[in-house]
């Protein structure tokens, strides 16, 4: 956990000798028009370049521009950065930056008691207070008494700092986020150059805006350095994290997923045809891939979710790597087409960036409630492999693995990620592409005795002959096909055989994936916490802390959701209790219970927020009491 800021020396001690902290959690909160996501990502970038480990949690509303000043229009960005391995965005912020009354109202409760509150008093007036639902001024009525408060008229100081550039009042006020960024960069000894470079690029077309924003950053920074804020002004630093040597960059899940898909396609020797329809929070992947045409990536923005997956399947039929991507509601629409890809045995990668459901649900909030849909959600007996990524960086490896399985076994593969992973950033050791093992696809080209349904005896994958190849002309479709000839067959025994074959082919993939490892702790014991997906960070930290307290607890984090690793059942039997925390109502627990008759205890949360380490610690302690 982050060191409590209350324990460190204040600026009055000596502001030129920053105190060194192990880690800090900052939450930037403001109106959705205040640019808090930019403040957060730039702070993150600057922090990462200094070799500090970090994890982030962008938390923003579904509305693009909700009415100004309302609580539902508040956009926040939380970063946890530390001189040690950082796995979560932090349970409780040490510092809250509140740019208006609504941001204060919605975020103050999260702030650690005694934590630092930086508040823009320039945004507080009777109108904005009323809009946020305050009946009295929280700056005066004792609401903020438990915190160290830094009251700043950021609005006024920003306007002054950009006065010379002659911006409109609206444009000038919009520099507030950069002034604030400058101040926070000073408070934690972060470098400014990356922000300046970024602003120059962003406002390349307007020297005036570039200069004004840079001036705002510098003014905020200078304010921190020169202000006499006796006692309550922090100035501290967070050192470099002890991480493995190598070259690093920051990466979000969406970026790492895009890189992984391109890497996978190159290892397979195929071009990508990515068919997708815009949907939050999955669109970022479409945006990423649309810029990678020079790597043989074709992106197709289809007219709807169904056309998106169908175009990808068509492309796979014609010899590309078909990929489609969506979030829960869109994945539901793709269900019938997934069945066709299963029936025709074509490779396909389906990415699901999960969000809160059901129906439209919570588009910008994270959840992992599409596991049932992924494993079971199609008509007929329609098995397909499902894999899940645990961290933003992990999306890279998981994407490559999805491509490998899809092409080797001629099957659609569902890759589960979520809104949190898609947007969250972390430092990422850039992988050595040359060390990755290629898995080149061999198209079938021999016309002799050709049948589209002849199979590899071991993998049960059918051959892949593509249009344009002389002598292997064939027809495929969703009607049941004869096991030997591939022609339409309604024969009852044949349907039994084909259903069994499809089933065994997917289950057989369990022989081709790594055995499940104990992620942390002993291989047997009193309690194992089993997780999957983006709960990795909080569970890891909680198990680590519980073990440090002497509790007999281990962690298993699962990547291969279907088929499950062959040894998973045995591993679970080595523990007296099994706890499965999930951001759903207990879907993986159902799968584990069904497959292993194990008494998996559910711990569920669907409030759109990642698990808090403290809550996991508490449940672990209770189960071992």
């Amino acid at each position: 956990m982050a060191t409590n800021l209350a324990q460190k020396p204040t600026a009055s001690a000596d502001k030129h000798v920053p105190a060194s902290l192990e880690s800090v959690v900052i939450r930037f909160a403001g109106d959705s028009g205040d640019g808090m996501q930019l403040t957060g990502t730039q702070f993150t970038h600057s922090t990462a370049l200094m070799g500090t480990d970090l994890a982030t949690f962008p938390d923003f509303p579904a509305e693009i521009r909700a009415p100004t000043g309302t609580t539902f229009g508040v956009s926040a960005y939380q970063i946890n950065f530390g001189a040690r391995r950082v796995l979560t965005a932090g349970d409780q912020p040490d510092v809250l930056v509140a740019m208006n009354p609504a941001a204060l109202k919605t975020n103050l409760e999260a702030l650690k008691p005694g934590g630092t509150l930086v508040v823009d008093i320039g945004s507080f007036n009777s109108r904005t207070l009323a809009k946020a639902g305050y009946t009295s001024d929280p700056l005066e009525d004792g609401t903020i008494a438990p915190y160290q408060v830094i009251r700043l008229d950021i609005t006024r100081m920003t306007l002054e700092s950009v006065k010379e550039f002659g911006l409109s009042n609206k444009d000038a006020i919009r520099c507030k986020n950069m002034w604030t960024l400058g101040l926070m960069l000073w408070m934690y000894g972060r470098q400014r150059q990356s922000v300046v470079d970024w602003l120059k690029g962003k406002f390349a077309k307007s020297q005036q805006l570039a200069d004004a924003n840079i001036a705002a950053v510098n003014a905020g920074h200078a304010f921190g350095e020169t202000a006499e804020l006796a006692g309550d002004m922090s100035h501290s630093t967070v050192g470099r994290a002890e991480v493995a040597p190598g070259v690093y960059r920051t990466i979000t899940g969406a970026e790492s997923l895009a890189l992984g898909l391109v890497a996978g396609s190159k290892l397979a020797g195929l071009d990508i045809m990515f068919g997708s329809y815009p949907i939050t929070p999955a669109s970022t992947l479409l945006h990423q891939l649309a810029r990678l045409k020079e790597h043989g990536v074709v992106t197709f923005q289809a007219e709807d979710e169904i056309a998106a997956i169908c175009s990808a399947i068509g492309a796979s039929f014609a010899g590309s790597l078909g990929v489609t991507s969506s979030s829960g509601p869109g994945i539901a629409l793709k269900g019938e087409a997934m069945g066709l890809a299963i029936s025709t045995e074509l490779p396909l990668v389906i990415v699901n960036s999960q969000r809160g459901g059901p129906s439209t649900g919570l588009p910008t909030k994270t959840e992992q409630s599409d596991l049932y849909q992924a494993i079971y959600g199609r008509n007929g007996d329609a098995p397909l492999p499902v894999i899940a990524s645990a961290t933003p960086g992990d999306c890279f490896e998981v994407a490559i693995e999805a491509v490998r399985i899809a092409t080797k076994y001629m099957t659609p593969v569902i890759l589960l990620t979520d809104g949190y992973l898609a947007n969250a950033a972390e430092p990422w050791p850039v992988p050595d592409f040359d060390s990755l093992k290629p898995f080149p696809v061999q198209f079938h080209t021999n016309p002799e005795n050709f049948s589209p349904s002849s199979r590899d005896a071991k993998t049960l994958a059918r051959n892949w002959a593509i249009p344009g190849t002389p002598g292997t002309e064939h027809r495929i479709g969703g009607i049941e096909k004869d096991f030997n000839t591939g022609n339409i067959s309604y024969a009852s025994d044949n349907h039994q055989l084909m259903t069994d074959t499809r089933w065994n082919k997917v289950l057989g993939i369990a022989d081709d994936i790594p055995l499940q490892e104990i992620t942390q702790g002993d291989a047997t014991g009193d309690l194992v916490v089993v997780g999957w997906g983006s709960t990795f960070g909080p569970i890891y930290r909680a198990v680590e802390q519980s073990r440090a307290k002497g509790l007999n607890v281990s962690q298993i984090h699962v990547r291969y959701m279907w088929p499950l690793p062959k040894n998973l059942g045995e591993l679970l039997k080595g523990f007296k209790q099994v706890l499965v925390p999930e951001m759903n109502k207990g879907q993986f627990a159902t799968v584990l219970r069904d497959n292993y008759l194990v008494d998996a205890v559910r711990l569920n949360q669907v409030n759109g927020q990642p698990f808090k380490v403290s809550r996991l610690n508490q449940v672990i302690a209770e189960m071992l009491a």
Partner: protein, 340 residues
């Protein structure tokens, strides 16, 4: 040319060994025959030819063509065809659909494949009924159609497929009749020669559930009186002796049916078909009234850039701009830092 003829494929060479399973007397047999003949005439390479279909009677078509074929899911054939063309623009893709598949469940996809102008041939078999599900009314069924799902007669207004295609921005729209074995191959060859989405509506008789629904203009006896064969550069005339024709009523911007020799009408009054004229095309496909003929032939043909070519150009341009794009460079893009 004779010395090459032993290599030349015949219509039969484009047929598979699969038993054709349409009802005896179904119009689809005639269309299948026409398509196979067309491919033979075009000397189409079976290895480079793909037939894509959705669901319905018409959509069984690919199983009977000795080319590559994909029988997909209901209504979505345009999306599969688009993906195939994006993966390999050199493939010659034919899409087969029906009035239910293409205009009801798949209406959205048909709209967009036409709008994007993906370079494929689209054959829409219109029999104004759902055949495979046993005879319910379809979006092209005329109002009052009695069917198992509309015992009191259908209430909905019917859709005009060619008008739909034109409104969607199709650059090639044609009509033909299943049994017209001379006309159909000509139209299919024109569709094939057109670069872009070529939409062909084929009036197809469903002998079991909607027999004779087009008889008033397809029967041998009725055809001369009720069918007008549009040909680019020729006057829009019809009738047993080509004595009737279409004239533009300039006061109303409407087409009227006139008889040459009556009321001072001469041949010069008759409109000359211009297949590049979108407004004329729209008037021709929506001709209505007791005297109005059904216009068949190539009604609109006006080539434009295709979607698949545009996509391929962008990819090629990106590859020229970054000839050394490799995975390592991509992985190290942006700001990096080194930990020693």
């Amino acid at each position: 040319m004779n010395e090459l003829s032993p290599q030349k494929l015949t219509a039969k060479d484009y047929a598979t060994d699969q038993e054709v399973r349409w009802c005896p007397g179904c119009g689809d047999y005639a269309i299948l025959k026409s398509v196979q003949k067309t491919l033979a005439d075009l000397e189409a390479d079976p290895a480079n030819t793909v037939f894509v279909s959705g669901i319905g009677c018409s959509s069984r078509f690919p199983y009977y063509m000795a080319t590559y074929g994909f029988h997909t899911i209901h209504g979505r054939a345009p999306a599969f065809a688009t993906g195939i063309k994006l993966a390999n623009p050199d493939l010659d893709v034919w899409m087969v659909t029906g009035d239910g598949d293409g205009l009801s469940i798949g209406g959205n996809h048909l709209l967009h494949v036409l709008r994007r102008n993906v370079d494929i041939q689209i054959l829409l078999f219109n029999n104004e009924i759902y055949g495979l599900t046993k005879g319910q009314y379809s979006p092209t069924s005329r109002p009052g159609t009695r069917s198992p799902s509309s015992p009191g007669g259908s209430i909905e207004r019917n859709l005009n497929p060619c008008n739909f295609a034109l409104a969607a921005g199709a650059r090639f729209v044609a009509r033909t009749v299943d049994t017209d074995q001379k006309h159909m191959p000509e139209i299919l060859k024109r569709a094939h020669g057109h670069r872009g989405a070529s939409f062909v509506e084929i009036y197809q008789n469903c002998i079991v559930f909607n027999d004779g629904v087009f008889a008033d203009f397809t029967d041998k006896k009725a055809a001369p009186e009720r069918q007008l064969r549009a040909e680019h550069g020729h006057r829009l005339v019809f009738g047993p002796n080509n004595e009737k024709g279409l004239r533009l009523n300039r006061d109303k911007v409407a087409i009227e049916i006139v008889t040459i020799g009556e009321n001072g009408i001469t041949e010069d009054d008759i409109l000359v078909h211009d297949e590049t004229d979108a407004l004329l095309a729209q008037m021709l496909v929506t001709l209505d009234g007791p005297d109005a003929p059904v216009v068949v032939g190539v009604i609109y043909c006006n080539q434009a850039d295709t979607y698949d070519a545009g996509v391929a150009r962008q990819v090629a341009k990106a590859k020229i701009a970054k000839p050394n794009a490799d995975m390592k460079e991509l992985l190290f893009a942006g700001s990096t830092w080194t930990v020693d």
